[in-house]
Symmetry: C2
Subunit: 431 residues, 2 copies
């Protein structure tokens, strides 16, 4: 863990160092992934089954007819879920849906004074593929966060893929898919699943866009199929930045720093405070909390390698630091968190006040937990309904409007050396 | 040019062939581009000047102090523009700005029945880089289409780069930059300009996102700096799809097909009609119009290699074909174009009726002319104000709200094996 103080002479350099730390180990899997995609494109179901048998350690009885998860399997999974977790998932689904309904954009058409009608309309994508990781990173909450905005957008076909290594699956993931209105579920994963979604096989019809997190193979496959289909962002390790003053509870702050750190050894937790007392108290509280945390090995490595406590003179000094870090998650525990939040330009999601731990937002707050990482909140947004819709602009001129605008279009077409453009207008005006 | 008829036995295969035609020659410039980017990152201004001297054939007198275009140069350029083109640019800028003002999104905050306050706010990107090609593809209209939405979004710093090979520049491009409110202009291009925008040099401060069209080097550089900065779509060759019935004027339709074809030998113009008479008449009209078109060589090659006329039984049969083609531009010249447009899901921009040639939309209609190509209208939208803003979600729980939601978050955290998440909630509730 790094301690910085804005009063130190080398602070600018030290903070720049914090900004430029590389937290991702980029595995070079691109050649392997290229081969797998080509295999699925040429081999279809047979190739998909073959890769899945090999990578997910399945036997000869796994065949093309095993790919799709049946409604009976979904029902059985729901029956196998603990009641409290299922109730919690239902509450989460209801709140996520309510929040995202407010994001559905409106269409717009208007006719101006010269008779030009123009505007736009939003339409849902015709189909979306949702990648869900298997094993320990198989989070039912992420199924809700990815699938619900797609359904709210009006996507008629939401296809989920989830690997089930050795046949193992998390029943809560299937329950979440059912709650979120997923249309089809296939038990495949890795680059082979991404290839199947992008190009289609005999069993899996192709989709228009692929979303959802995955490992290095999945990320490389998504980059490679981009263009053939749309993709969401490529998510990096998770981050939290907490702004807290001397009134904050150090144990609560430490708990929030560790909730982030427990995700991944490459996660990053940063505290910026104007109080050296809080800084010291949080540093101790983190050590105390680590002593009993089940995922302490992961959290300790993250905190040691990428954690930071930054002391500033005041929070006005913190604002430009926040904008440069552009954190995925920003918690503000100061006297007037709204006022401070209003000064910040770059953050994926903001959590206000001491009773809004980021974990509430991970599950049941309502806003999406798929958020821009690695400083990309400078130029991008968290997942939402707009990611599952696209806008078509519409233009209509009546003859009088064309007469009014035509000469300018002709002049610009000619000035750009595009005489054919000018002619397509002129021919309608007998010019 | 390919003629298809939906009544033919091999139509499905022929149409699938039309869909899968590869129109882009992908030059493998990735290694060269990687070297240039690394050069600018390590060498700054000196490397940028060096590459610019070499690629734009400039002499020793071109130095770091020559990089920025001065206000005097901009004033001189405006004075050198033909008055009719300048007036047309002003009209275009006014209309583009008015259209895009309607796209500025609203913020939203609400408190629900259990005391959770949530919503989002939109903020403009802090800075944007606009790439403008030099030479024949240097279009002042594209400067307006890229820069005006950024200014409407509220981006405080809009930086334009435009190569000026052998010192040559198009005065209308500088005039358009001035009209659109560009803040800084640098006379650099290619991968070296993209690198300077992404990483910064002594003279050019880095930006948060890079937009605008470019050649293979520029496209490869944009792909490579993605993540460090945001980028817009990578545009492919332009396309038009025209739906026209037997009442359409074949000379007008032909003029519109050629206005697209004259862009590039890889451009694509397609007519779908229910009238074999119109199909024949348009085919003849294209040949007649080509005889006098200045860019006939380009347009003829595009029409020959990628043009198509598709005859359908009726326009209901055409709708799924349109959705599969997902054209950048869709013109509808039928009896009730609105009704037909309402059935289409996938198109970048729609032009309704026989008095709305696509060229009007290229210049002065108001909607943006930067649109998704190569079937990407299935999952993406044209350029707009939202491309220059990002959304931050906001969540605030009061103590009662945390008590209401906390148990569900704790249950989900534990079910996902993330005990630290559960603890960050439980510690605040003394659970």
């Amino acid at each position: 863990m790094m301690r910085l103080d804005s009063r130190d002479a080398d602070f600018a350099a030290a903070f720049a160092g914090l900004l430029s730390v590389k937290r991702e180990i980029s595995e070079d899997v691109d050649e392997t992934v290229r081969g797998i995609i080509a295999g699925v494109v040429s081999g279809g179901d047979a190739a998909l089954v073959d890769y899945t048998r090999r990578f997910d350690r399945l036997g000869e009885d796994f065949s093309a007819t095993s790919l799709r998860v049946t409604p009976d399997e979904v029902r059985a999974a729901i029956a196998a879920c603990p009641a409290d977790a299922l109730d919690a998932l239902r509450l989460a689904a209801t709140r996520i849906e309510a929040f995202h309904r407010g994001q559905v954009p409106g269409d717009h058409m208007a006719t101006d004074e010269i008779g030009v009608t123009s505007g736009w309309r939003w339409t849902a994508l015709e189909s979306v593929g949702l990648y869900v990781p298997g094993g320990t990173a198989s989070y039912p909450s992420s199924v809700l966060m990815n699938a619900i905005p797609a359904r709210v957008a009006g996507v008629p076909r939401v296809v989920m893929v989830v690997p089930m290594p050795e046949g193992q699956m998390n029943p809560l993931v299937l329950a979440a898919a059912d709650l979120a209105g997923v249309s089809e579920i296939y038990r495949v994963g890795g680059a082979q699943a991404v290839a199947a979604l992008a190009y289609g096989t005999e069993t899996i019809a192709p989709v228009a866009k692929i979303v959802g997190p995955g490992n290095a193979w999945v990320a490389a496959a998504k980059r490679r199929v981009f263009g053939q289909v749309g993709i969401d962002m490529i998510a990096g390790p998770s981050e939290v930045l907490i702004l807290a003053d001397g009134h904050a509870n150090p144990d609560w702050v430490a708990a929030d720093l560790l909730a982030q750190a427990e995700h991944d050894v490459a996660a990053q937790s940063i505290l910026i405070t104007d109080s050296s007392e809080l800084a010291d108290a949080v540093e101790s509280a983190v050590e105390r909390a680590l002593a009993t945390l089940p995922r302490a090995d992961i959290a300790r490595a993250s905190w040691r390698d990428y954690g930071a406590i930054v002391r500033v003179r005041d929070f006005d000094e913190a604002v430009p630091l926040v904008d440069r870090l552009a954190p995925e998650h920003l918690e503000i525990e100061t006297a007037d968190p709204e006022a401070l939040a209003a000064k910040v330009r770059n953050a994926g999601a903001i959590f206000l006040g001491s009773h809004t731990p980021e974990a509430i937002g991970d599950y049941v707050g309502g806003p999406n937990h798929v958020l821009p990482t690695a400083r990309s909140a400078r130029f991008s947004s968290g997942l939402g309904v707009l990611d599952f819709m696209k806008r078509t602009t519409i233009l209509r001129c009546d003859p009088a409007a064309l007469r009014a605008l035509g000469p300018a279009a002709i002049a610009l077409g000619r000035s750009e050396g595009l005489d054919g453009h000018a002619r397509s207008v002129a021919i309608r005006l007998n010019l």
